[in-house]
Symmetry: D3
């Protein structure tokens, strides 16, 4: 990446953006505004993907688009559910939002777009958004990567951090992963004194309407108490390395 | 279950239906019409959930609603993707379809509804459909269970059937699980001579547009060659048992 | 039609489907789940069109797509109305559903599609669905026939079966036509002991909201008591013959 | 009806409207802008229902709402089809438009609403619009009549005007009925020199896309040459009489 | 303009319309049905733009399309708000309505379309409608002008009519401008005895839900008492002149 | 405002948020990602309202919700139009997005919500969003203020800053106002060397499709060259003061 280049789309004037967007990778962070236990604030999902996108953009020629701060409705099995004061969009709303954003980037000239998803429940809505945007574009020279950042973590690291067995990314809500990341990225919003050792015990099916008592009272689904900033650093480095590798592979860069 | 009672909603005249729907469980099978390798036909997902719903209905007081035969767009990581001649609905279409169906069942008096999902990609759309139907109903005496039938398989059975390690349900598309089930449920549509030993090797991210060569040419993502009707029977029995248990638990029957 | 060929789309593996769909006629049965008097079950409309499609497919090269089991809201003048426990979709839902299905068949290569409609109230929604699918396809080599199966009955037969004057197809709900068809197609779900001689006496306008007492209490709008399986057979043969003739004419086959 | 009262909603100031709307009948004419042969202009459907509504309003306490001038897409079997320069809305558009209009009238206090439909293809979309408006209103004191004006013609008159047999209202597009009405209502826009004796010969199914030659080149589907203003007067009087009778019956007036 | 040519689309048979629409300008008046104080009726906005369109069509080769009589929800700052018995459509409804109308005109061959907007609140919805219609058309030979008729008034005339300072067009609701126009166009629906000297005093922000007392009780936002038919004539002449000039400029006519 | 309280919703854990949201004002900044001339970056509208919301929140008890970074399509008369690489959402998308966000805040307990709009073209979409959210809530204890921040500037200050006459807020795109604000708020993204003295000369109507040359090549519509950070400070102080005053007035605080 060139030194001194601005990486945030919001900070670039349009003539420079217009030139760069046709050549560089556009990174679109998508999070949500969702409870993350007693010990972390509502912005965790968005902060994480915005930070990761910035780190990736420091290593390749890329522009980081403004983060989507509102995502799909939280579910008990992956985010605690909508009984908490979480802000969840309707499916169609999120689909149209991301479809329109992608449609515009493509119109601007973007041909290499990466969605970094930080909220488990967004995944299929983003798939639909990408599909609709690509169909509407009528183009065959656009390639879009959609990714959940947790899939960028190598299994080796997973085994290191969860030596007693890994619970699955859906259940890692506000647990070791996210807490470690936030301790590294934005420690001022984490209060480890409020981090409780919890364990979610969820049925093999989903029940609607959601009800009190299904998930731990804190809203976290996994144990955050072992989290450290050091783990967060390891995770960030691993994720960023794999994003860079994946992007180079998928877009056949370099 | 009462002997001789009809279990298919389609076979019941309305006066009987009206009485029963207020008391019994309504089972809604949701599948899709999707490629399942060289050795199985397009109807696998729907056939499976329709059969399972019927088996469950033989054990509890329940009505099996007409199957939803068209589901969400197939994805490479779980169903081979839309390059195959698979029939995929737009997200909003599937959401509205299931929302409307549920809304009507609730209007008829149904208070205990179970969705049996046989197509991995449907999951979040069904979540949205349930949420919209419940909100619109304005009722608090309706309970809806949404389930993927694969989650009704006990881990012990999984370990028995996949002694060398289980690949995950998403990758089990047209593999041992589904092939065994179909050999048991409807063997006439399975041609084991065309079952190929395949292994999908998919990246940790998703790429759009989908492209040729990403998944095995047959469209299956996992090895179906070890499948047997006996395994299918074991799976059906395990799934049905767990459905019955789950339904009793969730609706506090009996 | 070739002997031994599978006719149900659900029973065909994708490689065979992909070859055949480009050459053969695709038949899409669309019914609904609607009350049909005291003497017939909820599935009548769908059973009829599915059966008729299968009979047609035995005579020409054709594939029968999975039946659409949920249709538009029942109306008093043609189906008894929504006060009965009938399952009616919103207009937009049915339109999008059939639009998406047609869009996918066209993408698979289908160029000759026939919609067999068994539910009077579906008609205009299917028109819209076809129009939207064709516009979106951007193709001019696709031809779609939309038909109500009752229009395939010759006037001669109508005069034979209703010697005292024919009430019109809308009012024939659960009357002589449908009861005869079901006695032939699936007699086990018809209970002629519960067939009542009724006559609907409807105003020349429609009133909303629908109210009790507007239609006969059984939900049938016409007299089913003269129905016989023999009439059903005559009707099926006449309808199938005219479908085959119409299809050959419209697609200029043979 | 009070003498001197304004009958057009557009001509009434809001304080008077607010008082009257809660007591009187609101008449909503819905037409379209559609070809009507060589001899009549595009506005026929709307002109007719607007005129009829005004005549009805002279006989009962009623307000005539602004006419809906754009309706659903013309079909070959009833209006010649969309190959003519007819202005047809999408189904969802017409549904939302009439739903919103009804919702507002109900909010204003209207409890007795009559839709006068002058375009055959609008019918089911209006049904959906009424259903959606009533559900959303959450009220049970609103009654809405939906009517096609042709159904207000007595059979006796039909037999008088079509002594050789009546073709059905769908086929009467730009034929004797509509031409006679326009000769009475607005003769300046009818040119009988261009009225051709035509006969439509349509298949028993519908074909999409619509194609040239399916309907008579003029766009009329039935013979207009016998039309006279006298017939038009007889039709208007009969229709208005039956509307008044129907409204009194349905709303239990007087 | 040729003498004797019909200018209202509703009055033209399709063969003439089809020829003219490809050459002439199509004028689409868009109003609403909205309170206009004690002294004017609900139809003011639509009457004005319909009249203006007709006057413009007398001076250039143009066709006046049927008026859109229902517009977007009235707002306190520009139309008194929705507490009055005003008929306001949802945004999406108005957008789809005008999008579909424009789409059809373009399909008919129209290449020069002018929207004359008479209701302040419609403006952005019309912008969206035009954008959607043009994108969907895929054409680059269509040009659409969207205009608020008040912007066609020269500043000199404004200064003449409001010598003490002009309040802004949004606040001119049912004030001097509209009252003068109606006194000239359709004096029979104006009652100057009920015209009150009012002054709206609105905050610099908008508050929802709207509440009683925010705007003058009559619903007018500005003083109509100085209005005269003579002013109305001056306004009409100025507006029509500027429309003609603008249309010639924008379409490079003559 | 309490010292030390976090003001950004993203930084607050849910238990604290849940308590505060029911008592405090929720401020929702809505901007867009839009060109702002050669001398300013794409994020101007969002940066401004986010900053202003934070300043307001320092003076009253308030929570600043995550900024909406994507707004409605830019128009030539107010933002240069969509020929620039500006990211504009469809109207329905923005409406649904803000409707859903408001619906969630209300569900969380928010009763006092203020929308701070920084993008002229968003205004009517936000109005619709608020209207839909309030109707759907069914509550009468929620009050929402919608405001364009430019309307919070006192006329006295306007006269001071534009001594030669004020062009109107729509035309102030990337001119003195926005440039001064950004020089104060985030000077690092302003390059005054690229600020050109421009003057937009736009017709009194809007033309679609938008075309090159209609607005100044830089995309700014007004002269930014006189901008200073000092002016920015004066503007911020004036706007914040008036926001505080307006909020206290509208919610009858203190």
């Amino acid at each position: 990446m060139g030194s001194g280049k601005k990486i945030m789309m919001a900070d670039i004037p349009w003539p420079e953006y217009q030139k760069r967007v046709a050549e560089e990778v556009v990174l679109l962070p998508v999070g949500t505004t969702e409870q993350h236990g007693y010990h972390m604030p509502l912005g965790v999902d968005a902060y994480q993907v915005e930070f990761l996108a910035q780190e990736v953009a420091k290593k390749i020629d890329a522009i980081v688009a403004p983060t989507v701060w509102y995502g799909y409705k939280s579910q008990p099995h992956s985010g605690g559910g909508q009984l908490f004061p979480t802000t969840g969009l309707n499916a169609q709303t999120l689909i149209l939002l991301v479809r329109d954003i992608l449609t515009e980037f493509i119109r601007h000239g973007a041909r290499k777009i990466v969605i970094l998803d930080g909220h488990y429940e967004n995944a299929m809505m983003l798939t639909e958004a990408v599909d609709l945007a690509l169909r509407a574009s009528g183009r065959d020279d656009v390639r879009i990567i959609k990714s959940s950042f947790v899939n960028m973590i190598d299994q080796e690291l997973t085994e290191t951090l969860w030596p007693d067995g890994f619970p699955g990314w859906d259940l890692e809500h506000a647990g070791l992963l996210e807490t470690s990341l936030m301790l590294y990225i934005k420690p001022g919003v984490v209060d480890m004194n409020k981090a409780l050792k919890v364990e979610a015990n969820l049925p093999r099916y989903e029940v609607f309407p959601q009800y009190e008592g299904l998930v731990p009272a804190s809203g976290a689904l996994a144990d955050p108490t072992r989290a450290t900033a050091e783990y967060g650093k390891m995770l960030v480095e691993n994720i960023v390395m794999n994003y860079v590798k994946s992007i180079e592979e998928a877009f056949q860069l370099g």
